[in-house]
Protein backbone atom coordinates (compact mmCIF):
# COMPACT_ATOMS: atom_id res chain seq x y z
CA UNK A 1 0.00 0.00 0.00
CA UNK A 2 1.52 3.23 -1.07
CA UNK A 3 1.26 5.79 1.68
CA UNK A 4 2.07 9.33 0.63
CA UNK A 5 5.38 10.43 2.05
CA UNK A 6 4.04 13.23 4.22
CA UNK A 7 1.46 11.03 5.87
CA UNK A 8 3.99 8.29 6.47
CA UNK A 9 6.40 10.77 7.98
CA UNK A 10 3.64 12.01 10.24
CA UNK A 11 2.59 8.56 11.38
CA UNK A 12 6.07 7.30 12.02
CA UNK A 13 7.26 10.46 13.69
CA UNK A 14 7.72 10.57 17.42
CA UNK A 15 4.44 12.37 17.84
CA UNK A 16 2.55 10.06 15.54
CA UNK A 17 3.77 6.88 17.18
CA UNK A 18 3.20 8.21 20.64
CA UNK A 19 -0.35 9.30 19.99
CA UNK A 20 -1.24 6.03 18.29
CA UNK A 21 0.10 4.03 21.22
CA UNK A 22 -1.63 6.02 23.89
CA UNK A 23 -4.97 6.28 22.13
CA UNK A 24 -6.58 2.98 23.21
CA UNK A 25 -5.99 3.75 26.86
CA UNK A 26 -6.90 7.38 26.44
CA UNK A 27 -10.11 6.58 24.60
CA UNK A 28 -11.09 3.99 27.20
CA UNK A 29 -10.68 6.55 29.95
CA UNK A 30 -12.53 9.13 27.91
CA UNK A 31 -15.46 6.82 27.42
CA UNK A 32 -15.64 5.47 30.92
CA UNK A 33 -14.77 8.56 32.84
CA UNK A 34 -15.92 11.57 30.93
CA UNK A 35 -19.16 10.12 29.60
CA UNK A 36 -20.39 8.85 32.99
CA UNK A 37 -19.28 11.98 34.81
CA UNK A 38 -21.08 14.09 32.25
CA UNK A 39 -24.19 12.03 32.83
CA UNK A 40 -23.91 12.57 36.55
CA UNK A 41 -23.53 16.30 36.05
CA UNK A 42 -26.58 16.33 33.79
CA UNK A 43 -28.51 14.22 36.24
CA UNK A 44 -27.75 16.63 39.03
CA UNK A 45 -29.66 19.30 37.17
CA UNK A 46 -32.77 17.17 36.72
CA UNK A 47 -35.30 16.30 39.41
CA UNK A 48 -36.87 13.06 40.50
CA UNK A 49 -40.44 12.92 41.71
CA UNK A 50 -40.99 9.41 43.09
CA UNK A 51 -40.77 7.37 39.89
CA UNK A 52 -40.77 10.18 37.34
CA UNK A 53 -37.58 11.74 36.12
CA UNK A 54 -38.15 15.35 35.15
CA UNK A 55 -35.49 16.49 32.70
CA UNK A 56 -36.03 20.19 32.88
CA UNK A 57 -33.01 22.10 34.04
CA UNK A 58 -33.25 22.94 37.69
CA UNK A 59 -30.96 23.99 40.50
CA UNK A 60 -33.24 22.51 43.11
CA UNK A 61 -30.88 19.66 43.95
CA UNK A 62 -27.96 21.96 44.51
CA UNK A 63 -29.93 24.33 46.66
CA UNK A 64 -30.96 21.33 48.72
CA UNK A 65 -27.44 19.94 48.87
CA UNK A 66 -25.94 23.19 50.02
CA UNK A 67 -28.92 24.56 51.86
CA UNK A 68 -30.35 21.74 53.95
CA UNK A 69 -28.73 21.39 57.33
CA UNK A 70 -28.37 17.65 57.16
CA UNK A 71 -26.29 17.72 54.00
CA UNK A 72 -24.22 20.63 55.19
CA UNK A 73 -23.51 18.79 58.40
CA UNK A 74 -22.53 15.66 56.56
CA UNK A 75 -20.17 17.47 54.24
CA UNK A 76 -18.54 19.43 57.01
CA UNK A 77 -18.24 16.27 59.06
CA UNK A 78 -16.68 14.40 56.14
CA UNK A 79 -14.24 17.24 55.64
CA UNK A 80 -13.40 17.29 59.33
CA UNK A 81 -12.88 13.56 59.54
CA UNK A 82 -10.74 13.55 56.43
CA UNK A 83 -8.55 16.32 57.73
CA UNK A 84 -8.14 14.62 61.09
CA UNK A 85 -7.24 11.37 59.38
CA UNK A 86 -4.76 13.16 57.12
CA UNK A 87 -3.07 14.87 60.04
CA UNK A 88 -3.01 11.69 62.10
CA UNK A 89 -1.54 9.56 59.34
CA UNK A 90 1.12 12.07 58.37
CA UNK A 91 2.18 12.58 61.97
CA UNK A 92 2.29 8.82 62.56
CA UNK A 93 4.01 8.13 59.28
CA UNK A 94 6.73 10.74 59.43
CA UNK A 95 8.91 9.13 62.12
CA UNK A 96 8.51 5.76 60.40
CA UNK A 97 9.65 7.17 57.06
CA UNK A 98 12.51 8.92 58.81
CA UNK A 99 13.58 5.72 60.50
CA UNK A 100 13.39 3.77 57.27
CA UNK A 101 15.38 6.31 55.33
CA UNK A 102 18.06 7.29 57.81
CA UNK A 103 18.47 4.39 60.20
CA UNK A 104 17.78 1.27 58.21
CA UNK A 105 20.60 -0.48 56.37
CA UNK A 106 20.16 0.15 52.62
CA UNK A 107 20.14 -3.63 52.06
CA UNK A 108 17.03 -3.94 54.19
CA UNK A 109 15.09 -0.98 52.91
CA UNK A 110 13.10 -2.94 50.30
CA UNK A 111 12.13 -5.36 53.05
CA UNK A 112 10.82 -2.54 55.22
CA UNK A 113 8.82 -1.09 52.33
CA UNK A 114 7.36 -4.55 51.88
CA UNK A 115 6.52 -4.88 55.60
CA UNK A 116 4.81 -1.51 55.74
CA UNK A 117 2.64 -2.18 52.72
CA UNK A 118 1.55 -5.76 53.47
CA UNK A 119 -1.45 -4.80 55.63
CA UNK A 120 -2.77 -2.79 52.71
CA UNK A 121 -2.96 -5.86 50.55
CA UNK A 122 -5.28 -7.66 52.92
CA UNK A 123 -9.00 -7.33 52.51
CA UNK A 124 -10.20 -3.80 53.24
CA UNK A 125 -13.59 -4.95 54.47
CA UNK A 126 -11.94 -7.37 56.83
CA UNK A 127 -9.70 -4.76 58.33
CA UNK A 128 -12.58 -2.37 58.98
CA UNK A 129 -14.60 -5.15 60.46
CA UNK A 130 -11.71 -6.16 62.67
CA UNK A 131 -11.57 -2.67 64.12
CA UNK A 132 -15.21 -3.14 65.02
CA UNK A 133 -14.11 -6.29 66.78
CA UNK A 134 -11.29 -4.50 68.54
CA UNK A 135 -13.28 -1.47 69.65
CA UNK A 136 -16.60 -3.21 70.36
CA UNK A 137 -18.55 -3.59 73.56
CA UNK A 138 -17.32 -7.17 73.89
CA UNK A 139 -14.26 -6.46 71.86
CA UNK A 140 -10.58 -6.93 72.37
CA UNK A 141 -9.85 -3.62 74.09
CA UNK A 142 -12.75 -3.75 76.47
CA UNK A 143 -12.17 -7.43 77.16
CA UNK A 144 -8.52 -6.92 77.98
CA UNK A 145 -9.04 -3.80 80.08
CA UNK A 146 -11.82 -5.50 82.08
CA UNK A 147 -9.64 -8.55 82.55
CA UNK A 148 -6.79 -6.57 84.06
CA UNK A 149 -9.21 -4.53 86.12
CA UNK A 150 -8.46 -1.15 84.61
CA UNK A 151 -12.14 -0.45 84.08
CA UNK A 152 -15.36 -1.71 85.70
CA UNK A 153 -17.64 -1.54 82.70
CA UNK A 154 -16.97 -1.69 78.95
CA UNK A 155 -16.07 1.61 77.35
CA UNK A 156 -18.80 2.74 75.01
CA UNK A 157 -17.24 5.80 73.56
CA UNK A 158 -14.72 4.01 71.44
CA UNK A 159 -17.09 2.58 68.82
CA UNK A 160 -19.96 3.77 66.65
CA UNK A 161 -18.86 7.38 66.45
CA UNK A 162 -16.51 9.69 64.61
CA UNK A 163 -13.61 8.73 66.85
CA UNK A 164 -13.86 5.14 65.65
CA UNK A 165 -14.04 6.31 62.04
CA UNK A 166 -10.89 8.39 62.42
CA UNK A 167 -8.95 5.58 64.05
CA UNK A 168 -10.02 3.01 61.50
CA UNK A 169 -9.33 5.21 58.50
CA UNK A 170 -5.97 6.29 59.87
CA UNK A 171 -4.96 2.68 60.31
CA UNK A 172 -6.04 1.85 56.78
CA UNK A 173 -4.24 4.73 55.12
CA UNK A 174 -1.06 5.15 57.11
CA UNK A 175 1.06 2.95 54.78
CA UNK A 176 0.04 5.29 51.98
CA UNK A 177 1.41 8.18 53.98
CA UNK A 178 4.69 6.48 54.81
CA UNK A 179 5.74 5.77 51.25
CA UNK A 180 5.72 9.23 49.63
CA UNK A 181 7.53 10.70 52.62
CA UNK A 182 10.06 7.87 52.51
CA UNK A 183 10.66 8.29 48.79
CA UNK A 184 11.24 12.03 49.20
CA UNK A 185 13.60 11.48 52.11
CA UNK A 186 15.59 8.98 50.07
CA UNK A 187 16.18 11.68 47.53
CA UNK A 188 17.73 14.03 50.06
CA UNK A 189 21.41 14.37 49.25
CA UNK A 190 23.21 13.11 52.37
CA UNK A 191 26.14 15.37 51.68
CA UNK A 192 23.86 18.33 52.46
CA UNK A 193 23.57 17.05 56.00
CA UNK A 194 27.31 16.56 56.19
CA UNK A 195 27.81 20.11 54.97
CA UNK A 196 25.42 21.38 57.63
CA UNK A 197 27.31 19.44 60.27
CA UNK A 198 30.57 20.79 58.96
CA UNK A 199 29.16 24.30 59.29
CA UNK A 200 28.26 23.76 62.92
CA UNK A 201 24.67 22.49 63.17
CA UNK A 202 23.79 19.96 65.86
CA UNK A 203 21.74 16.87 65.03
CA UNK A 204 18.52 18.58 66.04
CA UNK A 205 19.16 21.67 63.97
CA UNK A 206 20.28 19.63 60.97
CA UNK A 207 16.91 17.97 61.11
CA UNK A 208 15.00 21.23 61.45
CA UNK A 209 16.92 23.17 58.85
CA UNK A 210 17.75 20.56 56.23
CA UNK A 211 15.80 17.31 56.55
CA UNK A 212 12.42 18.73 57.48
CA UNK A 213 12.12 21.35 54.72
CA UNK A 214 13.40 18.92 52.10
CA UNK A 215 10.85 16.32 53.20
CA UNK A 216 7.95 18.70 52.71
CA UNK A 217 7.15 17.72 49.12
CA UNK A 218 6.71 14.14 50.38
CA UNK A 219 4.48 15.34 53.19
CA UNK A 220 2.33 17.26 50.71
CA UNK A 221 2.06 14.23 48.45
CA UNK A 222 1.17 12.01 51.41
CA UNK A 223 -1.49 14.45 52.58
CA UNK A 224 -3.16 14.56 49.21
CA UNK A 225 -2.95 10.79 48.78
CA UNK A 226 -4.73 10.28 52.09
CA UNK A 227 -7.15 13.21 52.08
CA UNK A 228 -8.81 12.76 48.72
CA UNK A 229 -9.98 9.15 48.98
CA UNK A 230 -10.93 9.27 52.65
CA UNK A 231 -13.56 11.95 52.18
CA UNK A 232 -15.47 9.60 49.90
CA UNK A 233 -15.12 6.50 52.06
CA UNK A 234 -18.26 4.44 52.36
CA UNK A 235 -17.46 1.27 54.24
CA UNK A 236 -15.79 2.64 57.36
CA UNK A 237 -18.51 5.09 58.46
CA UNK A 238 -21.13 2.47 57.73
CA UNK A 239 -19.48 -0.21 59.83
CA UNK A 240 -18.03 1.73 62.74
CA UNK A 241 -19.51 5.20 62.52
CA UNK A 242 -22.83 4.71 64.19
CA UNK A 243 -25.58 7.26 63.48
CA UNK A 244 -23.32 10.22 64.17
CA UNK A 245 -20.36 8.98 62.26
CA UNK A 246 -21.89 8.66 58.82
CA UNK A 247 -20.20 10.51 55.99
CA UNK A 248 -21.27 11.99 52.69
CA UNK A 249 -20.72 8.78 50.71
CA UNK A 250 -23.32 7.02 52.83
CA UNK A 251 -25.88 9.71 52.04
CA UNK A 252 -25.05 9.52 48.34
CA UNK A 253 -25.64 5.79 48.38
CA UNK A 254 -28.87 6.28 50.24
CA UNK A 255 -30.17 8.70 47.62
CA UNK A 256 -29.30 6.33 44.82
CA UNK A 257 -30.81 3.28 46.39
CA UNK A 258 -33.43 3.51 49.08
CA UNK A 259 -34.44 7.15 48.74
CA UNK A 260 -34.71 6.78 44.96
CA UNK A 261 -33.57 10.30 44.36
CA UNK A 262 -30.65 9.82 42.02
CA UNK A 263 -30.54 13.48 40.91
CA UNK A 264 -30.06 14.60 44.48
CA UNK A 265 -27.46 11.91 44.95
CA UNK A 266 -25.72 13.16 41.83
CA UNK A 267 -25.80 16.73 43.09
CA UNK A 268 -24.34 15.62 46.40
CA UNK A 269 -21.64 13.64 44.62
CA UNK A 270 -20.65 16.57 42.41
CA UNK A 271 -20.70 18.92 45.38
CA UNK A 272 -18.51 16.58 47.38
CA UNK A 273 -16.12 16.26 44.44
CA UNK A 274 -16.02 20.02 44.09
CA UNK A 275 -15.29 20.39 47.78
CA UNK A 276 -12.49 17.84 47.69
CA UNK A 277 -10.81 19.33 44.64
CA UNK A 278 -11.05 22.87 46.02
CA UNK A 279 -9.54 21.97 49.36
CA UNK A 280 -6.80 19.99 47.64
CA UNK A 281 -6.00 22.85 45.28
CA UNK A 282 -5.93 25.38 48.11
CA UNK A 283 -3.60 23.09 50.01
CA UNK A 284 -1.27 22.71 47.03
CA UNK A 285 -1.35 26.45 46.35
CA UNK A 286 -0.50 27.26 49.95
CA UNK A 287 2.41 24.90 49.80
CA UNK A 288 3.65 26.34 46.53
CA UNK A 289 3.55 29.76 48.09
CA UNK A 290 5.53 28.86 51.18
CA UNK A 291 7.82 26.28 49.69
CA UNK A 292 8.72 28.29 46.60
CA UNK A 293 12.39 27.70 47.16
CA UNK A 294 12.28 23.93 47.01
CA UNK A 295 13.60 22.70 43.69
CA UNK A 296 10.94 20.07 43.12
CA UNK A 297 11.31 17.90 40.06
Amino acid sequence: MKIPNRLRNLLTSDAGRGLTLVSPTFLYMLLLLVAPLTMIVLLSFWTQDYLDLDRTFSLKNYSEAWGELIYQTLMMRSLKISMLVTMATVIMAFPVAYYMSFYVDPKHKPMWVFLVTIPFWTSYLMRIFLWKVILGYNGVINGSLLEIGAIDAPLEFILYNQFAVVITLSHAWVPFAVLPIFVTMEKIDRSLLEAAEDLGDSKFWRFIRVTLPLSMPGVVAASLIVFIPTIGDYVTPKLVGGPNGLMIANMIELQFKKANNAPLGAALAISALFLVVSVALIFVWLNRKYLKNQGED
Binding site: L32, P95, P110, S123, G143
Partner: protein
Protein backbone atom coordinates in the same frame (compact mmCIF):
# COMPACT_ATOMS: atom_id res chain seq x y z
CA UNK B 1 16.55 9.50 70.94
CA UNK B 2 17.39 6.43 68.95
CA UNK B 3 15.77 4.13 71.50
CA UNK B 4 12.68 6.29 71.56
CA UNK B 5 12.42 6.09 67.81
CA UNK B 6 12.83 2.33 67.84
CA UNK B 7 10.20 1.97 70.54
CA UNK B 8 7.85 4.09 68.46
CA UNK B 9 8.50 1.95 65.40
CA UNK B 10 7.71 -1.14 67.45
CA UNK B 11 4.41 0.32 68.64
CA UNK B 12 3.64 1.48 65.13
CA UNK B 13 4.15 -1.99 63.68
CA UNK B 14 1.97 -3.44 66.40
CA UNK B 15 -0.76 -0.95 65.57
CA UNK B 16 -0.38 -1.70 61.88
CA UNK B 17 -0.55 -5.45 62.19
CA UNK B 18 -2.86 -5.84 65.18
CA UNK B 19 -6.16 -6.24 63.34
CA UNK B 20 -4.64 -8.60 60.81
CA UNK B 21 -3.13 -10.78 63.50
CA UNK B 22 -6.54 -11.20 65.09
CA UNK B 23 -7.93 -12.91 62.04
CA UNK B 24 -6.35 -16.31 62.47
CA UNK B 25 -6.95 -16.11 66.21
CA UNK B 26 -10.70 -15.88 65.90
CA UNK B 27 -10.92 -18.08 62.83
CA UNK B 28 -9.97 -21.01 64.99
CA UNK B 29 -11.66 -19.87 68.18
CA UNK B 30 -14.43 -22.14 69.36
CA UNK B 31 -17.04 -19.50 70.02
CA UNK B 32 -19.56 -17.51 68.04
CA UNK B 33 -18.70 -14.39 70.01
CA UNK B 34 -15.66 -12.60 68.79
CA UNK B 35 -14.16 -11.49 72.06
CA UNK B 36 -11.56 -12.45 74.61
CA UNK B 37 -11.08 -14.76 76.48
CA UNK B 38 -10.52 -17.47 73.88
CA UNK B 39 -12.50 -20.70 74.02
CA UNK B 40 -10.37 -23.34 72.42
CA UNK B 41 -9.28 -24.57 69.02
CA UNK B 42 -11.70 -25.60 66.31
CA UNK B 43 -11.73 -26.09 62.56
CA UNK B 44 -15.48 -25.97 62.17
CA UNK B 45 -15.53 -22.46 60.81
CA UNK B 46 -13.13 -23.46 58.08
CA UNK B 47 -15.26 -26.49 57.34
CA UNK B 48 -18.38 -24.34 57.11
CA UNK B 49 -16.75 -22.39 54.29
CA UNK B 50 -16.41 -25.54 52.26
CA UNK B 51 -20.13 -26.13 52.39
CA UNK B 52 -21.38 -22.69 51.42
CA UNK B 53 -22.36 -22.61 47.77
CA UNK B 54 -23.02 -18.88 47.69
CA UNK B 55 -19.48 -18.30 48.82
CA UNK B 56 -18.10 -20.47 46.06
CA UNK B 57 -19.98 -18.70 43.31
CA UNK B 58 -19.06 -15.29 44.72
CA UNK B 59 -15.43 -16.38 44.78
CA UNK B 60 -15.57 -17.56 41.20
CA UNK B 61 -17.13 -14.28 40.14
CA UNK B 62 -14.40 -12.34 41.87
CA UNK B 63 -11.65 -14.44 40.34
CA UNK B 64 -13.07 -14.07 36.87
CA UNK B 65 -13.36 -10.31 37.29
CA UNK B 66 -9.90 -10.00 38.81
CA UNK B 67 -8.12 -11.98 36.09
CA UNK B 68 -9.91 -10.15 33.30
CA UNK B 69 -9.32 -6.78 34.92
CA UNK B 70 -5.65 -7.50 35.48
CA UNK B 71 -5.16 -8.57 31.89
CA UNK B 72 -6.94 -5.59 30.39
CA UNK B 73 -5.41 -3.05 32.76
CA UNK B 74 -1.91 -4.38 32.12
CA UNK B 75 -2.40 -4.27 28.35
CA UNK B 76 -3.72 -0.72 28.43
CA UNK B 77 -0.95 0.12 30.86
CA UNK B 78 1.78 -1.20 28.57
CA UNK B 79 0.53 0.90 25.67
CA UNK B 80 0.21 4.10 27.66
CA UNK B 81 3.41 3.67 29.67
CA UNK B 82 5.46 3.03 26.57
CA UNK B 83 3.94 5.99 24.77
CA UNK B 84 4.69 8.23 27.72
CA UNK B 85 8.22 6.98 28.35
CA UNK B 86 9.44 6.68 24.78
CA UNK B 87 7.74 9.30 22.65
CA UNK B 88 7.32 13.03 22.88
CA UNK B 89 3.88 13.71 21.51
CA UNK B 90 1.78 16.85 21.70
CA UNK B 91 -0.40 16.98 24.78
CA UNK B 92 1.55 14.23 26.49
CA UNK B 93 1.39 15.88 29.91
CA UNK B 94 -2.35 16.56 29.96
CA UNK B 95 -3.24 13.22 28.35
CA UNK B 96 -1.22 11.25 30.88
CA UNK B 97 -2.53 13.38 33.71
CA UNK B 98 -6.06 12.67 32.56
CA UNK B 99 -5.42 8.94 32.37
CA UNK B 100 -4.16 8.91 35.94
CA UNK B 101 -7.22 10.70 37.36
CA UNK B 102 -9.16 7.57 38.42
CA UNK B 103 -6.40 6.90 40.91
CA UNK B 104 -7.41 10.06 42.74
CA UNK B 105 -11.18 9.92 42.40
CA UNK B 106 -13.19 8.59 45.33
CA UNK B 107 -14.55 5.21 44.32
CA UNK B 108 -18.10 6.16 45.13
CA UNK B 109 -18.07 8.76 42.40
CA UNK B 110 -16.89 6.18 39.88
CA UNK B 111 -19.41 3.60 41.10
CA UNK B 112 -22.31 5.99 41.00
CA UNK B 113 -21.52 7.49 37.60
CA UNK B 114 -21.01 4.11 35.95
CA UNK B 115 -24.29 2.95 37.46
CA UNK B 116 -26.13 5.89 35.99
CA UNK B 117 -24.60 5.49 32.55
CA UNK B 118 -25.16 1.77 32.34
CA UNK B 119 -28.78 2.06 33.45
CA UNK B 120 -29.43 4.92 31.03
CA UNK B 121 -27.96 2.91 28.17
CA UNK B 122 -30.10 -0.02 29.12
CA UNK B 123 -27.30 -2.41 29.95
CA UNK B 124 -27.81 -4.97 32.64
CA UNK B 125 -25.66 -4.75 35.69
CA UNK B 126 -23.34 -7.68 35.41
CA UNK B 127 -19.82 -8.86 35.97
CA UNK B 128 -18.71 -7.01 32.83
CA UNK B 129 -19.96 -3.73 34.27
CA UNK B 130 -17.75 -4.35 37.28
CA UNK B 131 -14.83 -5.23 35.03
CA UNK B 132 -15.22 -1.92 33.22
CA UNK B 133 -15.09 -0.07 36.51
CA UNK B 134 -12.16 -2.04 37.86
CA UNK B 135 -10.09 -1.58 34.72
CA UNK B 136 -10.69 2.14 35.14
CA UNK B 137 -9.12 2.24 38.58
CA UNK B 138 -6.40 -0.35 38.02
CA UNK B 139 -4.94 1.03 34.80
CA UNK B 140 -3.31 4.07 36.50
CA UNK B 141 -1.53 1.72 38.89
CA UNK B 142 -0.40 -0.44 35.98
CA UNK B 143 0.89 2.64 34.18
CA UNK B 144 2.80 3.84 37.25
CA UNK B 145 4.57 0.49 37.59
CA UNK B 146 5.24 0.02 33.88
CA UNK B 147 6.37 3.57 33.26
CA UNK B 148 9.41 3.24 35.46
CA UNK B 149 10.27 -0.08 33.79
CA UNK B 150 10.13 1.55 30.37
CA UNK B 151 12.24 4.44 31.57
CA UNK B 152 14.91 2.07 32.83
CA UNK B 153 14.94 0.26 29.50
CA UNK B 154 17.85 1.40 27.33
CA UNK B 155 16.28 2.67 24.08
CA UNK B 156 19.28 1.41 22.13
CA UNK B 157 18.17 -2.17 22.94
CA UNK B 158 15.15 -1.78 20.71
CA UNK B 159 17.11 0.20 18.15
CA UNK B 160 19.73 -2.56 18.05
CA UNK B 161 17.04 -5.11 17.37
CA UNK B 162 15.65 -3.02 14.51
CA UNK B 163 19.13 -2.38 13.22
CA UNK B 164 19.73 -6.12 13.07
CA UNK B 165 16.76 -6.49 10.79
CA UNK B 166 13.80 -7.43 12.97
CA UNK B 167 10.36 -5.87 12.64
CA UNK B 168 8.84 -3.66 15.33
CA UNK B 169 6.52 -6.40 16.44
CA UNK B 170 9.35 -8.95 16.68
CA UNK B 171 11.37 -6.39 18.62
CA UNK B 172 8.55 -5.95 21.09
CA UNK B 173 8.08 -9.69 21.62
CA UNK B 174 11.75 -10.68 21.74
CA UNK B 175 13.39 -7.72 23.43
CA UNK B 176 10.99 -5.28 25.06
CA UNK B 177 8.58 -7.70 26.68
CA UNK B 178 11.20 -9.98 28.25
CA UNK B 179 13.03 -7.00 29.65
CA UNK B 180 9.94 -5.43 31.24
CA UNK B 181 8.45 -8.76 32.31
CA UNK B 182 8.97 -8.22 36.07
CA UNK B 183 6.99 -4.99 35.83
CA UNK B 184 4.31 -6.67 33.72
CA UNK B 185 3.90 -9.34 36.34
CA UNK B 186 3.89 -6.78 39.14
CA UNK B 187 1.25 -4.78 37.33
CA UNK B 188 -0.86 -7.90 36.77
CA UNK B 189 -0.65 -8.97 40.40
CA UNK B 190 -1.39 -5.53 41.77
CA UNK B 191 -4.40 -5.08 39.49
CA UNK B 192 -5.56 -8.57 40.41
CA UNK B 193 -5.32 -7.81 44.12
CA UNK B 194 -7.02 -4.43 43.84
CA UNK B 195 -9.87 -5.92 41.85
CA UNK B 196 -10.30 -8.91 44.11
CA UNK B 197 -10.65 -6.71 47.14
CA UNK B 198 -12.64 -3.84 45.67
CA UNK B 199 -16.01 -3.27 47.29
CA UNK B 200 -17.69 0.04 46.49
CA UNK B 201 -17.84 -0.19 42.69
CA UNK B 202 -18.81 -3.85 42.88
CA UNK B 203 -21.50 -2.96 45.41
CA UNK B 204 -23.08 -0.52 43.01
CA UNK B 205 -22.72 -2.55 39.86
CA UNK B 206 -23.11 -6.16 40.81
CA UNK B 207 -26.78 -6.86 40.25
CA UNK B 208 -27.66 -10.46 41.07
CA UNK B 209 -24.19 -11.97 41.03
CA UNK B 210 -22.20 -10.70 43.97
CA UNK B 211 -18.46 -10.58 44.14
CA UNK B 212 -16.63 -11.88 47.14
CA UNK B 213 -16.41 -8.54 49.02
CA UNK B 214 -20.09 -7.90 48.35
CA UNK B 215 -20.89 -11.36 49.66
CA UNK B 216 -18.82 -10.72 52.78
CA UNK B 217 -20.60 -7.43 53.30
CA UNK B 218 -23.90 -9.24 53.19
CA UNK B 219 -22.74 -11.68 55.82
CA UNK B 220 -21.47 -9.09 58.25
CA UNK B 221 -24.87 -8.24 59.56
CA UNK B 222 -25.34 -11.75 60.91
CA UNK B 223 -23.44 -12.13 64.18
CA UNK B 224 -23.46 -15.93 63.97
CA UNK B 225 -21.75 -15.88 60.63
CA UNK B 226 -18.89 -13.82 61.87
CA UNK B 227 -16.45 -16.55 62.88
CA UNK B 228 -16.72 -18.14 59.44
CA UNK B 229 -16.09 -14.70 57.95
CA UNK B 230 -12.98 -14.64 60.08
CA UNK B 231 -12.02 -17.98 58.64
CA UNK B 232 -12.59 -16.65 55.15
CA UNK B 233 -10.54 -13.59 55.99
CA UNK B 234 -7.68 -15.76 57.15
CA UNK B 235 -7.71 -17.66 53.87
CA UNK B 236 -7.76 -14.40 51.92
CA UNK B 237 -4.88 -13.14 54.00
CA UNK B 238 -2.87 -16.23 53.17
CA UNK B 239 -3.73 -15.80 49.50
CA UNK B 240 -2.61 -12.17 49.51
CA UNK B 241 0.62 -13.07 51.25
CA UNK B 242 1.32 -15.81 48.74
CA UNK B 243 0.70 -13.42 45.86
CA UNK B 244 2.94 -10.78 47.40
CA UNK B 245 5.76 -13.19 48.14
CA UNK B 246 5.45 -14.61 44.64
CA UNK B 247 5.56 -11.12 43.14
CA UNK B 248 8.68 -10.31 45.14
CA UNK B 249 10.31 -13.58 44.08
CA UNK B 250 9.56 -12.95 40.42
CA UNK B 251 10.91 -9.45 40.68
CA UNK B 252 14.17 -10.60 42.25
CA UNK B 253 14.57 -13.44 39.79
CA UNK B 254 13.96 -11.10 36.89
CA UNK B 255 16.53 -8.67 38.21
CA UNK B 256 19.08 -11.43 38.69
CA UNK B 257 18.51 -12.87 35.26
CA UNK B 258 18.99 -9.63 33.43
CA UNK B 259 21.59 -8.22 35.77
CA UNK B 260 19.63 -5.04 36.32
CA UNK B 261 20.14 -3.54 39.75
CA UNK B 262 17.65 -4.37 42.50
CA UNK B 263 15.52 -1.26 42.79
CA UNK B 264 13.70 -2.35 45.90
CA UNK B 265 10.25 -3.28 44.75
CA UNK B 266 7.56 -1.82 42.62
CA UNK B 267 7.97 1.57 44.20
Amino acid sequence: MRFGLKAYIGLFMLFLYAPTLLLPVFAFNDSTIVAFPLSGLTFKWMAALRDTAALHSATLNSLFIAVTTATLATMLGILAARASARYKFPGRGPIMGFIMIPMALPEIIIGVSLLVVLLQMGFNLSLWAIILGHVLICTPFAIAILRSAFQRLDPSMEEASLDLGHSRFATFMQITLPLIMPAVISSFLISFTISLDEFVIAFFLSGTEPTLPVYIWGQLRFPRKIPSIMALGTLLLLLSLCILVFAEYVRRRGARKTGIEDQGGMW
